[in-house]
Symmetry: C2
Subunit: 229 residues, 2 copies
DNA sequence: CAATATTTTTAACGATCGTTAAAAAGCCTA
DNA sequence: TAGGCTTTTTAACGATCGTTAAAAATATTG
């Protein structure tokens, strides 16, 4: 045995491509799923290994058996939801190039919110941890959140032919992402203002309407290259 | 002595209007100031009484001498920054009615960001605690955050004559507040994307430019009552 | 100055945190 | 079935949390 073999990862590693075995490492997957749920409810430092263990219906030290630390688990969760999102995001642009900006944004948001309904965790995890402490006390996987947005932006630039300047496109995309993340993640707040149920279709319709109202003029601008003022 | 007199608040209450005494309750004020700083850096459940004590250069149990609980202190801090903001906010509308939307928004944002530079805590406290847990584990003073936005909206509606529908105005104001809060509170994130220093004038200029770019078309819309599409 | 009231410090409580070590249980193969 | 490996459980560690009680220090009043 080498010194390196003392690393505390499970000995029987999961095959990267599970092929036939539908649930090769059920415990590890249960933990990721439970951790996603817990990290979607509490900021990194407030979420606890014990909460995650309880959500996964296991004893909490088992989490440390599959993940060397809370930080590593958090990064695994971020990677997981980011992959899920990234893969889905690409498909949302299908066929949009044949539409006008309004119809395109309309369809894109439909696909977006359809995903958000099925994967409520991703946006909350990001929103809960985006506002950072000044220097110290950094949240692990913070740079992965940056990657998350960077990929989204690249997808957009690749899929949508635009005539606007890079500056204009960045202003638009940052604002799009900011509004989307907040309206989807802080639904408890916004919905309570509006007197709607946070997770309801009605709330998502309000979000869609609002985002189209605010963003459509500038989307037209960066697509058609109109003058700014 | 009545039973009620056993409440553990300091016996010599601060006079509501300090009149002449410039620093009547210096310790209490020191605590509020330190707590504002700490709550601006960490979400409610991560910020600790001990951090606040250290920031105020006092022993931490003294915090509980002036405030019965962490929750009460947090509410006092929110009230403090909300009052500060509310009072300032009203003055930002002075003279805007004689301007066109673009010049008015420009000046309003200047005043807004000037305040933000001097009071960096307010927006971070709100942003750090706006995304809530589902049901349980509620952050104290959450409804005060709602009030905070509600007052802002009312100020806007009172000061700016508009022809748009209430729905349109609400969509605009919610998005305005969301963008402002995030760009100001999560400057660490956005500035790092742009390669700028988070608290710098240059970053605030980017925020201003971005908010004008995104919001000006719809501001014109709700002021002039133009057709939506 | 003495007595009283207020403010601050010290010490400790029960609870929860992330992590580790060791024992127990389950599983596979010889 | 026996022995070795993987997985799970149990127990415990040091640290930090909010809060309380009592002692000490300081300020106020007679």
């Amino acid at each position: 045995m080498t010194a390196l073999s003392k690393i505390k990862t499970p000995k029987k590693k999961p095959s990267i491509s599970p092929k036939k075995g539908h649930h090769k490492q059920p415990t590890r997957e249960k933990i990721i799923k439970a951790a996603t749920q817990v990290f979607a409810g509490y900021p990194y430092h407030s979420a606890s290994i014990r909460m995650i263990g309880k959500a996964a219906e296991i004893d909490h030290p088992l989490v440390n058996y599959y993940f060397p630390s809370k930080a590593a688990l958090f990064e695994a969760v971020i990677d997981d939801v980011a992959d899920e999102y990234y893969q889905a995001n690409i498909s949302w642009f299908d066929g949009l190039d044949k539409m006008n900006p309004k119809a395109g944004l309309d369809l894109y948001l439909d696909r977006f919110f359809d995903f958000a309904l099925k994967h409520p965790g991703a946006f909350r995890i990001i929103a809960l941890n985006l506002v950072q402490a000044e220097d110290h006390d950094v949240i692990p996987g913070y740079e992965r959140i940056r990657d998350f947005f960077a990929k989204t932006k690249q997808n957009f630039k690749d899929a949508v032919p635009m005539s606007g300047t890079d500056d204009d496109i960045d202003m638009f995309l940052n604002s799009f992402n900011t509004l989307a993340i907040n309206y989807l993640a802080a639904g408890t707040y916004y919905a309570s203002i509006l007197g709607i149920e946070p997770g309801s279709r009605q709330y998502l319709e309000w979000v869609k309407k609002t985002m189209m109202f605010v963003l459509l003029p500038r989307l037209r601008h960066i697509i058609n290259g109109e003058s700014k003022d």
